[in-house]
């Protein structure tokens, strides 16, 4: 896969305050990548920089192989952005909004009509096409904003906090839409979010940001390997564990730690999942009644929290 975004040691300041510092980020064509980080981490600024809205103070940014700031118009023609707020013209109808942005993206008149109709159909807004946007619910506005971002069929899609401020049902609708876009249309998608579950569900790779810098990036497995490679296996049996059973578990080479959390419940730290059948076989042979065996890998949330805490400790 060819590289579609290449940011290297980027610095950007609003007045004297760094918004991006030593920001390096790469995305290959067709990937769905999450930019994660708390508010103020620089996610929105990085999207602005990658679309040529802001000139960087240092470092280099290229998108589609072109230096960004000098080719901002061309890059924006080929990318679509869902801004943090829907940023729709609320006194205009849904169709008027799409028509305006279609014209701005240089689509032909017939193409605007056809694509607008298609997008409104896809996002379930066809029946409200001629209604003013200020009569829409938050979820509908967000779907219309995604439709606007995709109207000109962009190769690269930036979705900035697509589910923020939405109630759970609306957030789920939008989440489903993103999954559909990435699965069906195979677009390159950059998802800026602090909803970790959403990123975990949708993205091929994640980049975790803090104070304008990418602290870690990779697939979830890469990050697990780097941050928390072991698997935690919770084992719960009917009777209390015996001392010799605990001792046997500690002696096994695949098990690095045994934590007795309750009389009849332990958590084992194992290097890989091959240890689990051995443990199950041992307790079956001992005639124990096994109530639960649950292997649990570090979630994105675990990794994220671990990295953010480490960053805080380093700062302290």
């Amino acid at each position: 896969m060819s590289e579609i975004i290449h940011c290297r040691q980027v610095e950007f300041r609003y007045d004297q305050e760094f918004a991006l510092k030593d920001f390096s980020f790469h995305v290959r064509r067709g990937e769905v990548v999450a930019l994660l980080g708390p508010n103020g981490a620089g996610k929105t600024t990085s999207v602005r920089v990658m679309n040529g809205l802001l000139p960087v103070d240092a470092g280099s940014v290229s998108v589609f192989g072109m230096p960004v700031y000098e080719n901002g118009a061309e890059i924006r023609r080929r990318s679509g952005v869902l801004t943090e707020t829907p940023a729709l013209y609320e006194r205009l109808s849904a169709m008027q909004n799409l028509h305006f942005f279609g014209t701005m993206a240089d689509l032909e008149k017939g193409e605007i009509a056809a694509r607008s109709k298609l997008m409104l159909d896809v996002f379930g807004l066809a029946e409200r096409a001629d209604d003013r946007v200020d009569t829409f619910s938050k979820g509908m506005k967000q779907r219309l904003a995604i439709a606007r971002a995709m109207l000109h069929d962009p190769e690269l899609l930036f979705l900035d906090e697509p589910t923020s401020d939405l109630d759970p049902e609306a957030a789920r609708q939008v989440g489903d839409t993103i999954r559909e876009i990435s699965a069906r249309e195979k677009r390159t998608v950059i998802l800026c979010t602090h909803r970790l579950f959403e990123a975990e569900q949708v993205c091929d790779r994640v980049a975790i940001m803090k104070k304008g810098r990418v602290m870690a990036s990779g697939t979830l497995d890469d990050l697990r390997q780097a941050v928390s490679p072991q698997i935690a296996v919770r084992v719960r049996i009917a009777a209390p564990f015996l001392a010799d059973e605990i001792a046997w578990l500690k002696k096994q080479s695949g098990i690095s730690a045994v934590d007795l959390v309750e009389k009849n419940e332990i958590i084992l730290k194992v290097a890989d999942e091959t240890a689990t059948p051995l443990v199950v076989a041992y307790f079956v042979n001992k005639g124990a009644s096994i109530l639960a065996v649950e292997p649990k890998r570090a979630s994105l949330e675990d990794i994220y929290m671990h990295l953010q805490q480490n960053a805080r400790k380093e700062k302290a």
Binding site: Y14, D15, E17, A19, G40, G42, K43, T44, T45, R48, N51, L53, L54, P55, A73, E74, R76, R77, V81, T83, E84, T85, A87, L88, Y89, E90, R91, L92, Q96, F100, F101, T103, M104, A105, D106, A145, R148
Partner: protein, 278 residues
Amino acid sequence: MNTRRVVAIARKDWIEVRQNKYAWMPMLILPMIFVVLMPLVFTLILPALAVDPQDVLSSDQDIEFFINQMPEAMLRHIDLDKPMEAMIVTMLGFLFAPMFLILPLMYATIIASESFAGERERKTIEALLYTPASDAELLLGKVAAAAIPSLAATWIGFVIYTLILNIAPYAHFQRIWFPLPTWWPLIFWITPALVVLGIALTVIISAKVQNFLGTYQTSGSVVLLVVALFAGQITGALYLSVMVEMIIGAVLWVAAGVLGLVAVRTFNRKALLAGSKQ
């Protein structure tokens, strides 16, 4: 320069202005007063009430002074032997002429405030900045959205004013007497300069004041220029003869040009996003 985008921005902004009652209400009310009500008061209502026009002209020392000090080129349009005519020409042809300039200034600052500051206030500017349009196209589209309706509305108002001033008092004049020569530079030289000046000022102010009302109220203070012209006339310090108007227009065009350059420098993506750091 992509004119299709420029037209699309102008059209979209104009639709938005039409939907904002805080924008269009004053744009309806003030012209009703200046263009329709005031002329009708002097041409129909006062005569109908049998008010002696001489009383109107001599009721105020300022008006008397205004007529007495008037340059010959202007005075020859006032026939003092015909008091009704003299009152109408003095009041509606000369004295209130600068007040007519409030209209283009008001239109320009209201629409520009709605277009520039309103867009930032409603947080729709960012989506616009992510389009392929250049900064120049965005600026030109928004300037066109403010300038074209402002000029058109002023000129339409001028046509209506002309019709009323000729038709309503026709019984007294028995001729087409308006527009007076001083009105041509007022409408076609000073008015466009004021529109450009008002818009440029609004663009600069909207970079600091990020809401419609605040920007409009601040930029609207430029109306003081018009009040100064009115005060200048009534005190006899400045008569708006054709020559004086040409000079004032030239000064306004230079000021509009300078402010326009500052506005162009102010209007860029980085500056527009500076207020919304993330």
